[in-house]
């Protein structure tokens, strides 16, 4: 299911110097905000555990770093090859389309995990200000690894299905997850952000006052698994049916 040559090629493609630096810089945003929170010193208004769970990890890492990193790597893993015409070299080989999808997904997932964990772990520990976090950081670390896979699978499928994957992904993250899910509680079952938060909530040993996600852990895990499986299946199918454009 995984081809080492495709993995190596995709890594070199994705981890070009500019993109890597940009993403690492992006990962630093939650860390810097956590530092500012810590330097502010007044923790009476904001409990460090509550701030870390809800703001640093919940909003900044899961709400910002994770989806945007997954969007960049998930859509670029195969999308850039469609754009510049190099996909033909990969697709004109006797390789099952499923192997191409899984190899690309593996690299996009790994790259997203690295960037998101670089954001999550330091910002979590800095935000806790030395207090015990009830396993918050570890819980969020595991949750973002799962969330990275779900997002990357969905964005990889989008990049095959449409040439405007980046716009579609931004609309999903900004409008759907950022606005619609907040307005209508029922659609939380179609939000990867809510799955990630639900998994983190299940693993963290903290009270509901500190962190209370909208989805129960098992429900979030099940929905996440279904969405990942469906996205991978759709990606296989879309790649099998992919046709070269006139400009290619």
């Amino acid at each position: 299911m995984i081809d080492a040559t495709i993995v190596r090629l995709t890594m070199r493609q994705l981890l070009g110097q500019k993109r890597t630096l940009l993403m690492l810089g992006f990962a630093m945003i939650p860390v810097l905000i956590a530092l500012l929170y810590r330097l502010n010193g007044d923790h009476r208004a904001n409990d460090p555990q509550e701030w870390t769970a809800q703001v640093a990890l919940g909003r900044l890492v899961v709400g910002l770093t994770l989806p945007f990193t997954a969007l960049v790597f998930g859509t670029a893993a195969l999308g850039t090859e469609f754009e510049d015409g190099t996909a033909v070299y990969l697709l004109s080989k006797p390789i099952p389309r499923s192997t191409i999808v899984m190899s690309k997904l593996l690299v996009a997932w790994a790259a997203t995990c690295v960037v998101t964990l670089i954001a999550a772990i330091p910002s979590g520990y800095i935000g806790l200000s030395g207090e015990s976090g009830g396993g918050l950081v570890a819980a969020f670390a595991v949750a973002v690894i799962a969330g990275s896979l779900i997002y990357c699978a969905a964005f990889l499928w989008l990049s095959i299905a449409t040439s405007r994957a980046l716009i579609a992904g931004l609309l999903y993250v900004f409008i759907w997850e950022g606005v619609v899910v907040n307005l209508f509680r029922g659609v939380r079952i179609l939000s990867v952000r809510q799955y990630t938060l639900g998994i983190a909530g299940q693993l963290a040993n903290v009270s509901e006052r500190i962190f209370n996600p909208r989805l129960e852990g098992p429900q979030a895990l099940l929905l996440g698994a279904i969405v990942t499986a469906v996205a991978i299946f759709l990606a296989f199918r879309a790649l099998k049916r992919w046709e070269i454009g006139e400009a290619s």
Partner: protein
Amino acid sequence: MTEPGAPPAIECDHVSRWYGNIVAVNDISFSLRAGITGLLGPNGAGKSTMLHMLAGFLQPSAGAVRVLGQPAWGNPEMYRQVGLVPEREAVYPFLTGYEFVLDSARLHHLPDPEDATLRAIRMVELEDAMGRATGGYSKGMKQRIKIAAALVHEPTVLLLDEPFNGADPRQRLHLMSLLREMAAAGKTIVFSSHILEEVERLAEEVLVIVSGRLAASGDFREIRRLMTDRPHTFTVRASDNRRLAASLVADPSVYGVELQGSELQVRTSEFAAFTMAVAGVARRSGVTIFEMRPTDESLESVFSYLVKR
């Protein structure tokens, strides 16, 4: 290698392809065996669409395309015996030429990819530049490294989309001789081109596609004769146009002469006979010809003549 008597390497059976209301390829049927076939036609005629269907990158809207007896569409296994050189210049710019071909060899799961890579790079004479990143290659070098990557697994069928674009004359000759060697070894090679001379120099068989239709197919010399023997119009400027017109009209190869200002428009049905006769006619009439040029020699006019036949 396709043996004589074996099924054709490539078969197209009433193949059409349309995009919405636009018909790019219209009910084309042909079959090809080992040798070099040129896919000739003006820009936008449907050559690339046809080649992409042969390569399994476009699904025919109607009809069937089979390569080595297998359906071309939705069949990645076909690529074990098929090599493709796309028209687009793009290669992975961060890979060296060697890495690019090596990755191709590895993706084919060849038993000795390093050896196959060196052999393919040697075939296109790019050994000196194989250690450099392909992003810095010239257009001709990119073309050659793409050909090396397509040849690395020694395919039975090789499909090339405008392969000589960007190649200098020496490289062009080298690539042509390489393709001839492959054809002599029993490979089936199909290449597209909008340049008549390229096809003339290389192809044994030709498929002429105009406006999505197969305008002519078969032996190139026969089609060339059709192209040459069609009615031609020449523009002639001479020291005495009127006297030359009177003499030319008596020549059996000429069926019409018209005086147009300071020029003559001469219509002939026999290209070769007229061009051989005209100097003698002028000399006998005591007229000096200053200029003579074919008026309708554009490739498009040649193609549209073939379509009308």
